[in-house]
Symmetry: none
């Protein structure tokens, strides 16, 4: 379906806003008498959009499948997340703004604490401060491996990442992190054919890194995981003839947006009002597709704080009038997955979708809620099918066949 | 999607009951003022499960496609029934407890009555008693074919089955049963390439069998149908890290359960109360997935007896409290297909699904009926997607991607 939408896409038409309320879908909350946060929240602006738009619900990956943020967002951008895989290592690198090239092998680093026998005492080295992480990374930058470019970059606290750049790498490399304390880091082994060279490089990196770290405190070791070979994705410009922009505060979402070839627009201040301004700037500079990310509906869900989730929904509701004024022709509100407060986790439950603008079967729904979305005019569909609906609403898809 | 669920499945989590009310879906019944048997039945326990669970409906194979019992059940066990094919012959053999090996060719036998010219007078030889069937089978056990192991086994009344064991067999062999009286049995022909050897073996079997049977009464001939090569299925243990059990009274359902690698638990007495006890025993012995089969909702549908179907639904409803006490974390109630009383046949109509347990969008539905299921929180999905939903509800699926 996405291939077809790609073939039919036009290089002109309306401007699209994709507003992602991260983790928006939820479950009935006892404290709310069985209402979900969306049902509980006062959302006069979303209500108005709903009445003059259309609702549906999307399955980010598939029934019963709980998506990580990567697959959840890729689906919204029109990529089938089961075909377009992106590893944690690559996402981490993209998230800190490192420009991955086709064929780069990325992995996450955890600095850890080892005892004198090399057994893991703390997989996170007591969550060292980010400054110490940066120091350690600086010391690791001395590592050289012949014919390989090695990049080590700090992320946050005990987390960093490493990128190997060389021809013919493979990511069939097993994590060295055993996932628990009381064991030694695993030795580097391949998980599939053709990874001999990658394994050799990673072994050499660990050997040199271990020598550099061995007398440091409290982080005297490192664990690698999430090996991921970066393969260039076709951009939204190549796929759908869009000129796309991203407005997101957090590295992870900026990272996944850059995979899709979106240009980042900075938010000043770093809050929803700043994000609205950034969206406006994106349109002014000629962008016709803006991915707009609101993080805190997810964070409050992960914390199990349903009152805060309601507040975050209401905060988003308040900026809708100013978003409307930016000049978008089509506005979509959805999430990358559900993060139900009772679970404090991402979940597999379908995510409500609102599309406003373009020709829609309006008047079917009154409020943007899970329940109304399930009975909405757009029906239930796969996350990666959303892009076709948005392009169609914006008049950016030609007819198929004569 | 099932591949993905397989990749993501965990070896721990909640215990799942899959209760299959065979042929449960139905159509409006005039005698009931347009209600279906599910709508007509008094089901206080199902109602309670529904209010605190979630409904949806599943398509066992696809829209408009009427499933046999094999595909209907395989879908519920998480196998795409269009990919995992199992022939009637193989099912019949499995159903009587014959342990099929990879590569075995199985077929169903009907003992029949032929006139002196070899024309079929009765395709079922007057439904001979099972004892006579066993005698005939005993006489056929003398058949020998060089380099082939031949197994002939009685099933019930005029029905038996034959299994050929040899290397490189094929099931591209046409039925010899013309499906009507007044014709001779068809000669053995292949329906595809590479079946020459199988055809030769089957011809030899029929030649010897005909000679043995020719003077018997009333069954002096035999018809073969449903040739099926048995290929090992990946078990539910391999696919989803489950330790599965089956509680079913009828051979067919035991057979399809054994395809999925389920261990059988015996019901004493052979009724619903015995089945509950068997389910309890399965859990006690460490099983974490129990397939629980209730046959008579289907039989009453096939007989067009809507009052009996209502009674069978109510019988199942009565055992729900004792099923709940077994200690399952997730309880699913569904069917393998619809068997509408007005049709007296299997049909393609979607089958209502109830899932109770795990995080669900509860409070959307009041009664387990076709109509409410179509508007339920789980939506409409393929039968083979049910397993993902059950595993997710039981906390047995990891997140996809980071």
């Amino acid at each position: 379906m996405t291939d077809l939408a790609s073939q039919l896409s036009l290089d002109h038409g309306g401007k699209i806003l994709l507003a992602v309320l991260d983790g928006i879908g939820d479950l009935p909350i006892d404290d709310f008498g069985g209402l979900t946060p969306l049902e509980k929240a006062e959302t006069p602006n979303l209500d108005k959009l709903t009445k003059t738009g259309a609702l549906g619900q999307q399955l980010p990956v598939g029934r019963g499948i709980t998506p990580g943020s990567g697959p959840g967002h890729l689906a919204l951008f029109g990529y089938d997340p089961v075909k377009f895989l992106v590893g944690r290592g690559a996402l981490a690198a993209l998230g800190i703004g490192f420009e991955l090239k086709h064929g780069d092998l990325a992995a996450r680093i955890n600095f850890c604490t080892l005892d004198k026998d090399g057994v893991i005492l703390d997989r996170r080295a007591g969550r060292i401060p980010t400054e110490l992480c940066e120091e350690l990374v600086l010391s690791l930058k001395k590592i050289t491996i012949p014919e390989v470019e090695v990049f080590v970059e700090p992320v946050k606290e005990h987390r960093a990442c490493v990128i190997f750049r060389a021809p013919a790498l493979s990511d069939a490399v097993h994590d060295t992190d055993p996932g628990l304390v009381g064991e030694k880091p695993l030795s580097v082994v391949s998980t599939g054919a053709g990874a001999e060279y990658a394994v050799k490089i990673v072994k050499e990196f660990i050997k040199q890194a271990s020598a550099i770290l061995k007398d440091k405190k409290p982080a005297n070791g490192l664990l690698l995981r999430g090996f991921a070979l970066h393969e260039d994705f076709p951009s939204l410009s190549e796929l759908y003839k869009l000129n796309p922009a991203a407005v997101a505060l957090y590295p992870m979402y900026r990272g996944v947006a850059s995979l899709a070839g979106m240009e980042q627009f900075e938010s000043n201040p770093a809050d929803l009002t700043g994000e609205v301004q950034a969206a406006k700037n994106a349109l002014k500079s000629g962008k016709d597709f803006v991915f707009f990310h609101h993080k805190y509906t997810d964070s409050s869900g992960e914390d199990g704080d349903h009152n805060r989730k309601v507040a975050e929904i209401e905060k988003f509701d308040k900026i809708i009038p100013s978003l409307m004024e930016c000049g978008f022709d089509v506005i979509c509100v959805t999430g990358d997955h559900s993060t139900p407060c009772p679970m404090k986790l991402h979940s597999w439950h379908p995510v409500p979708v609102l599309i406003h603008g373009g020709p829609q079967r309006t008047g079917w729904s009154d409020r943007y809620t899970e329940r109304e979305a399930a009975a909405g005019a757009l029906g239930t569909f796969h996350g990666y099918e959303l892009m076709s609906l948005l392009l169609a609403a914006a008049g950016r898809l030609a007819k198929f066949g004569a």
